[in-house]
């Protein structure tokens, strides 16, 4: 399921169009439900791109204001999400360029706190390091697509619209990325199954 789906897609298109209509008529408060609905997925995209919480929050805020400023160019017969994520993505690429950050940095790991069992902690640390290493070895596009699809729940079509790719191409990158990760992480499957 798409991260922004809940009701049917048609319901969302109609609701988005109505909200956009109200915002364009001068009702700024009509933007609030849209901010609420798209905040978390937009933050996920921003975080995958920038790898830093503060930068991701700044990017999300900037993207909402950019969307507001360009609302007249939004095609109200289509869903708001992909159009908005595309803004997040393109603004994020620009911001990243200006911040001169490397794409591999997003893997800011948040390790689980240590437990009373040093052996288990060491194993977890090793696992986390291996996963981080495997992700870092992937080409950036594959890594981002795997994260957006498998972790954040975006569909291939949504990712395609965001990245300016054909959905089939997105699925192909996803396949490649998954295959590489599975090979690297296969030894940990048993450990995970035991947990």
């Amino acid at each position: 399921m798409s991260p922004t789906e809940g009701a049917g897609p048609r319901d969302h298109i109609a609701a988005d169009a109505a909200a956009v209509e109200r915002v364009l008529a001068g009702d700024a408060e009509a933007f609030a439900p849209m901010v609420r609905r798209f905040l978390q997925p937009a933050y996920n995209v921003a975080y995958r791109l920038l790898g830093n919480r503060q930068d991701a929050e700044d990017l999300v805020q900037e993207a909402f204001l950019t969307a507001l400023a360009n609302l007249r160019s939004f095609d109200r017969s289509r869903p708001f999400g992909p159009w908005f994520y595309r803004i997040v993505w393109t603004r994020g690429l620009n911001l990243r360029k200006s911040l001169a950050r490397r794409a591999a940095e997003p893997l800011e790991s948040e390790r689980h706190p240590g437990t009373a069992d040093p052996a288990a902690d060491a194993e977890r640390t090793e696992l986390a390091d291996t996963v981080l290493g495997a992700l870092a070895e992937l080409p950036e596009r594959q890594r981002l697509i795997v994260q957006l699809f498998d972790l954040d729940g975006f569909s291939g079509a949504e990712i395609g619209e965001m990245l300016g790719l054909n959905p089939g191409t997105v699925r192909w990158y996803l396949h490649q990325g998954r295959r590489a990760l599975r090979e690297r992480l296969a030894p940990f499957q048993e450990a995970l199954d035991e947990e």
């Binding site: 700024a28 905040l39 790991s109 948040e110 992700l135 498998d150 089939g168 396949h175 599975r182």
Partner: protein, 134 residues
């Protein structure tokens, strides 16, 4: 790339990858962080909306242009009148009537004649004063 339709629809989610990659990924925004970010965004949105609806200086200027033009024209006319005088009024002081002395003499000879005094002083009121014998 395969062309047998394998890329026509999304693959099923991979739970193992999800668990493994999820372990090293930063968790989503906490509820209070999301609320704070949402409030900051809406505050900026309200500011932008207010700025968008506030008229720009050229709109204000255009709105006041006719009144300003009229006021300017009036100021020019008034200044001209003050500096060069009104074309409708004489620039010299009114001359004394040459017959003033003679008139005074006539009125002096008939001191009780209110009608004569009124006629000579130019009172053109239509009201009739009561007749009185000299």
């Amino acid at each position: 790339m395969r062309s047998d339709g394998a890329w026509d629809r999304d693959p099923v989610p991979d739970p193992l990858l999800r668990r493994l990659v999820g372990r090293v990924s930063v968790p989503p925004l906490a509820e209070q962080d999301a609320a704070r970010l949402e409030a900051a965004i809406m505050s900026a949105v309200r500011r932008e909306a207010a700025r968008a609806t506030a008229p720009a200086w050229w709109e204000i200027a255009a709105r006041w242009a006719p009144a300003a033009a009229a006021a300017g024209l009036a100021a020019v006319v008034l200044s001209g009148l003050v500096l060069f005088g009104s074309p409708f009024s004489s620039s010299s002081a009114p001359e004394a009537a040459p017959e003033t002395a003679a008139v005074a003499q006539v009125i002096g000879r008939y001191p009780g004649d209110a009608v004569l005094a009124s006629l000579i002083s130019g009172d053109d009121s239509d009201t009739l004063s009561p007749w009185s014998e000299p």
